[in-house]
């Protein structure tokens, strides 16, 4: 998995590329925490390049959501592929996260 991070203080963006499973979820978590530590107003997680995610990746995003809420930052997820959206639906976390289709929508959300 590759991680592309844009730590803009107003609108930070994290774009993982590749499958997010237990093998890489720690790297994903580290990147999310480091970005949230910069206290951006909004953090967009662009999952358009993630074809698969297991519960370790979902847990990482739940952790990030909680950290973001603590500092008053908004976390938005965009670009979910069907398999990834499926795991959010199974765990009913699709109602917990703010999920939009495109990066543009996420920026405006």
């Amino acid at each position: 998995m590759k991680l592309h991070v844009d730590q803009n203080p107003e609108l930070a963006t994290i774009t993982p590329e590749g499958e997010v499973d237990l093998n890489v979820s720690r790297d994903f978590q580290l990147a999310l925490r480091q970005t949230i530590d910069q206290k951006p107003s909004k953090l967009v997680v662009d999952l358009s390049q993630v074809p698969y995610m297991d519960s370790s990746g979902v847990a990482t995003l739940v952790d990030a959501l909680q950290q973001a809420r603590k500092i008053g930052s908004e976390l938005v997820i965009c670009g979910m592929q069907p398999k990834v959206l499926s795991i959010f639906e199974i765990t009913r976390l699709n109602d917990v996260f703010k999920i939009v289709k495109t990066l543009d929508e996420a920026r405006l959300a």
């Binding site: 499973d21 237990l22 093998n23 297991d54 519960s55 370790s56 909680q66 499926s86 765990t91």
Partner: protein, 240 residues
């Protein structure tokens, strides 16, 4: 919890027949991707549509993650075995011919699989009606009754694996292995209508084929050769 409530209470037992596939891997997360790809490809051949293949691969992934994280505490040298059997629907007319494969009797529709087998070996084609997967380890044993999915209302990281497995598979059972470690048995039936619809919508996708495999009728010796795997009569641990 609605999906789980619909699922029948069934007994899952380790089949006496040898698995069609047996893979041994170390408890290292870097092998998760390969395990997912293997199981997904096999499920495809058993007649599952793409969505179901993804669900089965996800269940295997979650099971392996639980073993790596909680069973072996992230030790990298623990052994894990993945075993796969096609399920033959003993309640349907097209049962296993008895010679072409060594499929597991349908655990979701318990019955005498032999009764549905053809008297003319080799004439019937063994189209699987489901998949049975066993995942075994030598990690610490836990009381199967304590393995439960957590309340989803409690929004927190972690603990979702068991819920996901129970959600996407039709039947799940955790057992102690006689020789130490744990066994997870999980089964899922194919949805022929979904597969047919998918083939019509995506004719370029590869069609599933009937399974073939060993004709041996000898009982499995298990991944470690332990006699405990030969009985096929392990007690069932029902899951909520």
């Amino acid at each position: 919890m609605e999906e789980q409530a619909k699922k029948p209470v069934v007994q899952l037992v380790l089949p006496a027949e040898p698995p069609h596939i047996r893979v041994e891997m170390f408890s290292q997360p870097r092998y998760l991707s390969g395990a997912r790809d293997l199981v997904s490809a096999v499920a495809r051949r058993f007649g599952f549509d793409e969505g179901a293949c993804g669900q089965i691969a996800l269940a295997v992934d979650e099971a392996l993650c639980n073993i790596i994280r909680h069973g072996y505490d992230r030790r990298a040298d623990g052994k894990i075995w993945i075993m796969v059997w096609p399920i033959q629907d003993s309640s349907a007319g097209a049962g296993c011919c008895g010679d072409c494969c060594s499929s597991a009797a349908d655990p979701l529709f318990p019955g005498d699989a032999a009764a549905s087998r053809s008297d003319e070996p080799g004439l019937a084609e063994c189209e699987p009606t489901g998949i049975l997967i066993a995942i075994e380890d030598e990690a610490k044993q836990v009381d199967p009754s304590l393995i439960k999915s957590r309340d989803l209302e409690d929004i927190r990281p972690g603990g979702l694996g068991v819920f996901i497995i129970q959600s996407v598979m039709d039947a799940v059972a955790y057992q102690h292995r006689d020789t130490g470690g744990m066994r997870l048995l999980m089964a899922k039936r194919t949805d022929p209508e979904a597969a047919r619809k998918e083939r019509l919508e995506h004719p370029d996708l590869e069609l599933s084929e009937p399974s073939s495999g060993s004709s041996s009728s000898e009982p499995s010796s298990g991944p470690d050769g332990s006699p405990g795997h030969t009985s096929g009569a392990h007690p069932t641990q029902e899951r909520p």
